[in-house]
């Protein structure tokens, strides 16, 4: 990656006021080891990594790992809150839209999801801030300090985008499932529609939805970046954007590695969950 773009020293010194002589830059590069050939830099970095040292941020001069770790909880918090909101909103709404297929409620819900799906994150957040903070004066614009109030807007922003996807996905999967014979079977046994829906249909539909949800955790990890920047949410997303713009490679690498780790972990959990939920697959494997 490092061979790719300009280096951090350039980026930093050009960002600020005037400019800095190449001499000073060279010195700083030497300090950071950026003057060495790319492969040497890379080898050094790998060596550090093996020893559990992810290097030092070019930008702040602080060790990458603790910096990253100190920001991770904020992002995870935001992720968890937005995913929970998404799940709690989209499953009932998706089911409702499916049950009321082609009736007013369905159209309304679908219309909303279209809107949610065609709003860029930054725009949603602007609208939310505009209404909740400027017009209604209910919530703070910024999430500088983590509190119940400050997490609402960023969570909403992320959840709106995600829910509008999931509502549609849930709706379709549920519609598909509702046509299966076992639904008729359960009806014949007099099982309540809600039980049919939640214990049978949703459980089956969940298989698909969980796949999607796990996938979106990946994109959510990246997607929080813009939102974090807008709401001044001090998490890894914002850190990543800053680092990318400033070519702070140790930071970016740490970010990539960690995201990959988290992602792999999430995937693993999904696979297990999938196994757990779908007996057809579970039993097939253990036979």
């Amino acid at each position: 990656m490092q061979s790719v773009a300009g280096d951090a020293v350039d980026a930093l010194y050009d960002n600020i006021s005037g400019g800095v002589s190449e001499e000073i830059k060279a010195e700083r590069r030497a300090e950071l080891g950026l003057d060495k050939p790319f492969l040497v830099q890379y080898a050094n970095w790998l060596k550090g990594l093996v020893q559990g040292d992810m290097g030092i941020s070019y930008l702040s001069g602080k060790a990458v790992f603790p910096t990253f770790m100190s920001k991770l909880p904020a992002t995870l918090l935001l992720m968890v809150s937005s995913i929970s909101l998404t799940v709690t909103v989209s499953i009932p709404l998706g089911v409702l839209a499916a049950v009321r297929q082609n009736r007013i409620l369905d159209y309304v819900v679908r219309g909303l999801t279209f809107a949610g799906n065609s709003l860029p994150g930054f725009f949603t957040s602007l609208l939310l801030i505009y209404f909740f903070s400027l017009k209604l004066r209910l919530l703070p614009v910024m999430g500088g300090t983590i509190s119940l109030k400050s997490i609402i807007l960023p969570t909403l922003t992320l959840a709106i985008a995600m829910s509008s996807k999931y509502i549609r996905q849930v709706r379709v999967t549920v519609l598909e499932e509702l046509q299966k014979d076992y639904v008729t079977g359960a009806r014949a046994r007099g099982v309540r529609e809600s039980v049919i829906m939640y214990a049978n249909v949703l459980k089956t539909a969940m298989l698909t939805i969980i796949t999607l949800l796990a996938l979106s955790i990946g994109s959510l990890l990246g997607g929080t970046a813009i939102i974090e920047t807008i709401f001044m949410w001090d998490g890894v997303g914002k850190l990543a954007v800053d680092s990318i713009l400033m070519r702070d490679y140790p930071m970016i690498q740490a970010y990539v590695i960690w995201m990959a780790l988290i992602y792999v972990a999430v995937n693993l959990v999904t696979d297990l969950l999938y196994h757990f939920l779908d007996p057809r697959i579970r039993r097939a494997h253990s036979a």
């Binding site: 014979d181 039993r283 253990s286 036979a287």
Partner: protein, 260 residues
Amino acid sequence: MGALLTATGICKHYRVGRERVHAVHDVSLRIDRGECVGLVGESGCGKSTVAGIVTSLIQADAGRVLLEGRDISAGSGRRRNVCTAIQMVFQSPADSFNPRLTLGDSIIEGLINQGIAKQEARNLTLEYLGLCGLPKTFADRYPHQVSGGECQRASIARAIAVQPKLLICDEATSALDVTIQAQIIDLIAKLRRELSMSCLLISHDIALIWEICDRVMIMCEGEIIEDGIPSDIISHPKQEYTRSLIEAAFLSSAWGGCCS
């Protein structure tokens, strides 16, 4: 008559919860060309599983299946050899049709795979549907639009349309009333004569098996416990299970008989 199909030492286990189910346990069987073999046994004794293994749709835990001397066991990578040489009528006909295809399209598919031209394949499809007692219009229906028996007949039509060397019927006539059942049995008998097609009939209808099979195999708890010509088995059942089966069959036919 040479052997069309031989299976040796096939085994299949499933795990349900913590228990191990021996669905099929060390079963060997042989079907000759033109022969009609019946497979009878209590429900859950492993008949469908044997059928699945023979058609290599289920991968056996052990054992080999040879079709005309070639290994076609699932997992041997040779499944395509079987192609349409073995056909099966599934026990649950409704599930065996792709819900997004019309019955006609599902049937045509096998014919086209044999290299038959489209138009001709369509004609054949209609013809076989007719032979199974279904009007032409059924070719354009979807599986959910037909009755259980109609679906089963379509399933039979699909199996015989490609003129397989071996036809496996897993309860192929269970959803049919006697008149149509008779029609189907006649059809199969005719195909056997004309194409020297072999048959493996899985059925609970002992009367039917006795009527048309050259040989009967009795299965019990995953094993074949008896194998012989029907009349022998009826008159000299070797196993306790066989005996009770035959008695029950007599009894039920007696009910029918007493009323007429």
